[in-house]
Amino acid sequence: MEFFWGLFISGLTRGSIYALIALGYTMVYGIIQLINFAHGEIYMLGAFTALIVATVLTMYGLTGPAVLIMASLIAVLYAGAYGFTVEKIAYKPLRQAPRLSPLISAVGMSIFLQNYVLLAQTSDFLPFPNLIPEMSWMKPLTGLMAPTEIIIILTTALIMILLTVFVKLTRMGRAMRAAAQDGNMAMLVGVNVNRVISHTFVIGSVLAAVGGVLIASHVGRINFFMGFLAGIKAFTAAVLGGIGSIPGAVLGGLILGWTESFAAGYIASDYEDVFAFVLLILILILKPAGIFGREEIKKP
């Protein structure tokens, strides 16, 4: 029973991280029908930036939760900036181009960012300090899960709620939904679609960065290549839930997290990464629209 529970929590944790990253994919795809291949790298950049800031801060004497807060804020800020910049450079000029072009550009951007970090820092795995302090209210739960896991799950839940409120109730959120449904029409009624797109990228990047910081604290190390695998799996989650659907991304993330965790635990742990891909191929063959997606009827 304990084994099962351990896998359950572990699945919930990684599923939450996948969900955070998947949200970025799904929102961007909903608006400009592009798989942002570079999104996984934003996640990675968030983790790296947090590490650098945290290290500098501790070097100059800062300790405790202040480090976590400062590092996270700055990492998130930078991730948003990177997301914004990537869109402006690699995707905006190609909005009218045939579909293959922005896709290739995205792949190129992904490779660029990975190697940028590789060359700027190092190819080694860098140890990441556990920034999450053990707080008193966690005491009763410590038998069941680690403090980092608690924080990850709570943070993700909180973010879901905030995001849903944002999308449903704020002006920009409405604009984003409108642009996702019909970009041209949204423009005609006065929505500044360029601004909406930038916002989408920034929000998605922020979420990914949060995920990056959290998982880095949990796992304890980061590497320039961590965005690649996480990115593909998060995309799988987004497709599973129905690309373009926010609740879908969350659900997809959780399902993927649990699938991986339980499959690795009960079937074969070496092939952990394979499950995500197999799941992806299966969904795309059987129900490409995903759980919350709508079947598209093409009108030539």
């Binding site: 795809y29 029908q33 798989i35 950049l45 790296f48 930036t49 650098i52 290290t55 500098v56 700055i74 930078y78 900036a81 910049t85 450079i89 000029p93 190609l94 181009a97 579909r99 293959l100 072009s101 922005p102 896709l103 290739i104 550009s105 792949v107 190129g108 951007m109 992904s110 490779i111 660029f112 960012l113 990975q114 190697n115 940028y116 970090v117 590789l118 060359l119 700027a120 820092q121 860098l126 140890p127 300090p129 690649f228 695998l229 593909i232 995309f235 799988t236 497709v239 070496d270 092939y271 990464d273 394979v274 995500a276 891909f277 197999v278 992806l280 191929i281 795309l284 490409p288 030539p300």
Partner: protein, 406 residues
């Protein structure tokens, strides 16, 4: 003035953006923070200059209303001039041929090996071109077929002592079968999904090879693979290297010959039609699903063949050589060379393989350059270095068509 101000602002933005990663380097083991202020100035200056250049070229290419295939005039003129002056062309070709045929004799073993690698990538690029360039299917996992061919030979050789020449057609077959298997579920998918699935397929292949130790010997790989036999004679290292080089040279020409034939055929036109507009191509009687599967099978078969050659050349393979970076490199070759363009792909492969070898300063930055080149090419020159020109037909007055290649 406004432009300069904008570029200044952009330059400041990039300094801000790259500050944590480029200026600061943390060494958590020794608790040292290194501040690399010089990088900051590089970024500032570079961003300033690049943003000016970027804006300039963006306007020039008319990207506000982007054209896919307008070609900058100067380059076109030059190419047309070269094509027209057949003397120069012939002269150039003779020189190139001489160089190619004689190089193993005056180059060292190491350099001959590099040339062979370049040739292998040319063929891989041409193979992927059939899937990506002609048919327009973005395959990010091409390396999987390469791996299938390599392991096919390695395992057959290891367990049953199968020789290179026997394994070659088997590698092609294995690659093609893998291609069909991947294509079957994937042909109905939209471009973006197809890209991700092929990526997944590539990764699955690598992961299986890495973990299924009983089958593939895992991360340690397979060694002592026999090099290609030369009528049963045992060649020394140097002679063997030259032998493989000439083998690949022949293979390369064979591939170019085959691809040219395919491009100019009913099948080739069907593929290009699918790339241009799948719905319209189906309305014109083309079975798109079948054609796509065929494209995959043929492209994959070629990768399978190259896998066999690779295994024979390096006599040792392991899963690490078949990762996404490889797929990305082959894709860059196709994209940078010019989708569909044989000459462009050859040029791109040579650049991408030989340049980092001979200009060592590049080799660290190789992937960085690939990545940025892909972005830049898509924006400014999507038709590639040497764009592909469709065939022209000449017609005499009596309506008696003769084809003439431009």
């Amino acid at each position: 003035m406004h432009k300069l101000k904008q570029s200044l602002f952009i330059s400041l933005w990039f300094v801000f953006l790259t500050f944590p990663l480029l200026v600061i380097r943390v060494d958590t083991l020794n608790k040292v923070v290194e501040w690399r202020w010089r990088n900051m100035w590089y970024v500032a200056a570079g961003a300033f200059v690049l943003s000016l250049a970027w804006r300039h070229f963006l306007e020039k290419s008319g990207r506000v209303m982007p054209q896919g295939f307008t070609v900058s005039e100067g380059k076109e003129e030059f190419l047309r001039w070269v094509r027209a002056h057949t003397q120069i062309r012939k002269g150039g070709m003779v020189l190139a041929a001489a160089f190619l045929l004689l190089s193993p004799f005056f180059l060292s073993t190491y350099h001959t090996n590099v040339m062979t690698t370049a040739l292998i990538y040319i063929v891989l690029g041409l193979g992927l071109n059939i899937i990506v360039g002609l048919t327009g299917l973005l395959n990010l996992g091409y390396v999987a077929f390469y791996a299938v061919g390599a392991y096919c030979y390695a395992l057959l050789n290891h367990h049953f002592g199968v020789g290179f020449w026997t394994a070659l057609p088997l590698g092609v077959l294995a690659g093609s079968i893998a291609g069909v298997l991947l294509a079957l579920p994937v042909v109905r998918l939209r471009g973006d999904y197809l890209a991700i699935v092929t990526l997944g397929f590539g990764e699955i292949t690598r992961l299986i090879l890495e973990n299924w130790n009983e089958f593939s010997f895992g991360p340690s790989g397979i060694s002592h693979i026999s090099p290609p036999g030369f009528f049963g004679i045992n060649l020394g290292v140097r002679a063997n290297t030259s032998y493989i080089y000439f083998l690949m040279l022949g293979f390369c020409f064979f591939t170019i010959f085959m691809v040219r034939r395919l491009q100019d055929s009913r099948v080739g036109r069907a593929w290009i039609a699918i790339r241009e507009d799948e719905t319209a191509s189906q309305a014109m009687g083309i079975d798109a699903a079948r054609a796509k599967i065929t494209a995959f099978a043929i492209g994959a078969g070629w990768a399978g063949a190259m896998g066999v050659v690779f295994a024979a050349k390096t006599t040792f393979i392991n899963p690490a050589s078949f990762n996404f970076i490889e797929s990305a490199m082959i894709l860059s070759i196709v994209v940078l060379g010019g989708i569909g363009s044989i000459g462009g792909i050859i040029l791109a492969a040579l650049l991408l393989i030989l340049l980092p070898e001979y200009l060592r300063v590049f080799s660290d930055y190789r992937m960085l350059i690939f990545g940025s080149a892909m972005v830049v090419m898509m924006i400014f020159r999507p038709q590639g270095i040497l764009p592909y020109v469709r065939r022209s037909y000449e017609f005499h007055l009596q309506n008696d068509p003769t084809g003439q290649v431009k």
